[in-house]
């Protein structure tokens, strides 16, 4: 069709060739900088390469076996699952409430939106530094409030007679702290995704249900939730991808400590493979994340496609 109009030969008019030429830089970049390194990561995981001796001698599945028998690795694997599932379940519940509230009309909406989105729009390493100071072992404002309320620092106080909680120094509390900060950080993204879902529900559908006498909880259960389920899944799945593979919050707050209590696969990969220089072990540990990623990607595609057909 359109090609015949400007038939003057030359690459500027040959659609097929032009298309390939326009796509080439992007595809080249992706193959060279994502495809090749990915294959190389697999090769490293099967080798005994270190930073000192980066030659690829294939040793088979040795690294995977070594990882599986390493207690720190197993601890990290469990922590990663706990960290991801708990934080993302909380995110989905909270983002639902927040998105519903943001749909209503109220004053200062622009400012409220800006403040609520801050954890996602500001660089995460810098936001987490703010939390590091809030979890300080001596000057934590949370501890100050607890002391002020008499819950901490006196003889019969509920949380103990010590003056501080040591949020990042006690295993259980440290895990709760990194989960809290991860919730804080992903919540804005999930909220905006859920907002898009909620505002796409046809208003007349809800109004018709109201006229027919359906109670609010019934409208939510029978209309809003089924209609927005795909978008809730999308929000959850992206939250999982961004949490499962990330190390910023853990690295800045605890470096995986105390005693690996908050170590996750990605941070353990970093400490082993990059800081420790054991390229092969690091690559093997990181590739344990891949099956989950691949499964999540498939689910995202399916969810998106299913809704498109409807």
């Amino acid at each position: 069709m359109s090609a015949q109009v400007g038939e003057r030969g030359g690459i500027r008019d040959r659609e097929g060739a032009l298309a390939k030429l326009l796509i080439a830089p992007a595809v080249f970049y992706i193959v060279a900088m994502i495809g090749v390194p990915f294959v190389l990561a697999i090769l490293y995981s099967l080798s005994d390469a270190t930073t000192g001796d980066p030659e690829l001698h294939i040793v088979g599945l040795l690294n995977y076996r070594a990882a599986l028998s390493d207690p720190v690795f197993r601890k990290s694997l469990g922590n990663t699952v706990v960290f991801t599932l708990i934080s993302q379940t909380i995110v989905i519940l909270l983002s639902r409430v927040l998105a519903t509230a943001l749909l209503k009309p109220f004053r200062w909406k622009g400012l409220v939106r800006f403040l609520i989105l801050l954890p996602w729009t500001a660089p995460i390493s810098l936001g987490t530094i703010g939390w590091l100071w809030m979890f300080d072992s001596i000057f934590s404002p949370i501890d100050w409030v607890l002391r002020y309320a008499g819950l901490l620092g006196t003889k019969n106080a509920l949380l103990g007679f010590q003056t501080n909680m040591y949020w990042l120094g006690v295993p259980g509390l440290a895990m709760a702290s990194v989960i809290l900060v991860q919730v804080w950080r992903i919540l804005p993204l999930a909220t905006v995704i859920q907002l898009a879902g909620l505002s796409s529900i046809p208003k007349d559908l809800l109004e018709a249900a109201e006229v027919d006498g359906a109670a609010p909880w019934r409208r939510t259960l029978m209309i809003t939730i089924p209609l927005t389920l795909p978008i809730i899944s999308i929000a959850f799945l992206f939250g999982v991808v961004f949490t499962f593979t990330d190390l910023v919050v853990v690295y800045v707050l605890t470096r995986g400590g105390p005693v690996h209590a908050t170590q996750v696969l990605s941070s353990w990969t970093f400490f082993k493979g990059i800081e420790g220089g054991d390229l092969a072990q690091g690559a093997a540990i990181s590739l344990f994340m891949f099956p989950v990623l691949a499964a999540v990607a498939v689910l995202i595609l399916r969810t998106a496609r299913r809704t498109e057909v409807v």
Partner: protein, 279 residues
């Protein structure tokens, strides 16, 4: 207003206030530390939420004169601009081609490119660190400039593809009837119509580069080469002593401008994620 309505209104404001407090408190906490005198900051009995002594500019002065903070900001800007340029060069033409010549394979390739956005730095950084030392770019901003497009190109191609699809084909066909070549129709007619899409790409490529932490942590250990997202958390610590005043000032100053800009574009960013799941 009847009592029920007032109660619901009050409930709404209470919920919003709670969430605003949760989201924004760490930044309020940064503001306090930025202007608080050390003596006030480090007295456990002082109310930490208020200024018990008059505020001070000492921390800001220290941040800008005694640390590499300005260098971090400059480095961030340089890396960001270079990444924006590479991203525009690769993503915009590719997105156009995928959107226009999409008969099955265009859509599939587009989704394939988007999925590479999900391959995390924590899988790629080990092989990439070998690349960096082979090509001699470790400890240099060049390593970041070359690597950051691995996440900006996939995402921006996907975004622009959606954007180009909203521009009707007839516009180009008319331009070609008027004598422009196929390429000319794209460059002279479609691109000027796509300014807002291209602006989105510029904002995202810059923002995502500025936010990036893992690659910068992996490739850069020299203070003078660090970007702000890595320089502030790793360098503004003297030995084991955290200098919380300058540290919070540095985090705050770098966060706010990018957050303001990003807020305006977040809806488009999310539209990329939802991939047609919302119509």
């Amino acid at each position: 207003m009847n009592p029920g309505k007032i109660a619901r209104r009050g409930g709404l404001y209470a919920i919003l206030a709670g969430f605003v407090f949760f989201s924004a408190f760490p930044f309020y906490w940064m503001v306090i530390a930025t202007f608080k005198k050390d003596h006030d900051l480090y007295s456990p009995l002082n109310n930490p939420f208020l200024f018990n002594e008059p505020p001070t500019l000492d921390h800001l002065r220290l941040l800008f004169t005694q640390t590499h903070y300005v260098t971090y900001l400059t480095n961030t800007l340089l890396v960001g601009l270079a990444v924006v340029a590479i991203t525009l060069f690769a993503a915009v033409p590719a997105a156009y081609a995928l959107a226009r010549w999409a008969r099955g394979w265009g859509e599939t390739l587009g989704i394939g490119i988007f999925l590479t956005y999900l391959v995390p730095p924590t899988i790629l950084f080990i092989p990439l660190s070998r690349f960096a030392s082979i090509y001699g770019v470790q400890e240099s901003l060049w390593s970041l400039i070359l690597i950051y497009p691995t996440f900006t190109i996939p995402f921006c191609t996907w975004l622009m593809m959606g954007f180009f699809k909203t521009i009707p084909k007839e516009i180009e066909e008319q331009a070609m009837i008027d004598g422009l070549s196929r390429f000319g129709a794209m460059a002279k007619v479609v691109l000027p119509l796509s300014i807002s899409g291209i602006l989105t790409v510029v904002v995202f490529a810059f923002t995502l580069s500025m936010h990036e932490f893992i690659y910068a942590l992996t490739f850069i250990s020299q203070s003078a080469q660090k970007t702000v997202s890595i320089g502030v958390p790793t360098e503004l610590v003297r030995g084991d002593v955290f200098q919380w005043g300058p540290l919070m000032a540095g985090a705050l100053i770098a966060s706010l401008p990018v957050a303001v800009v990003y807020t305006f574009f977040l809806d488009r960013f999310v539209a990329g994620f939802t991939m047609g799941a919302v119509k």
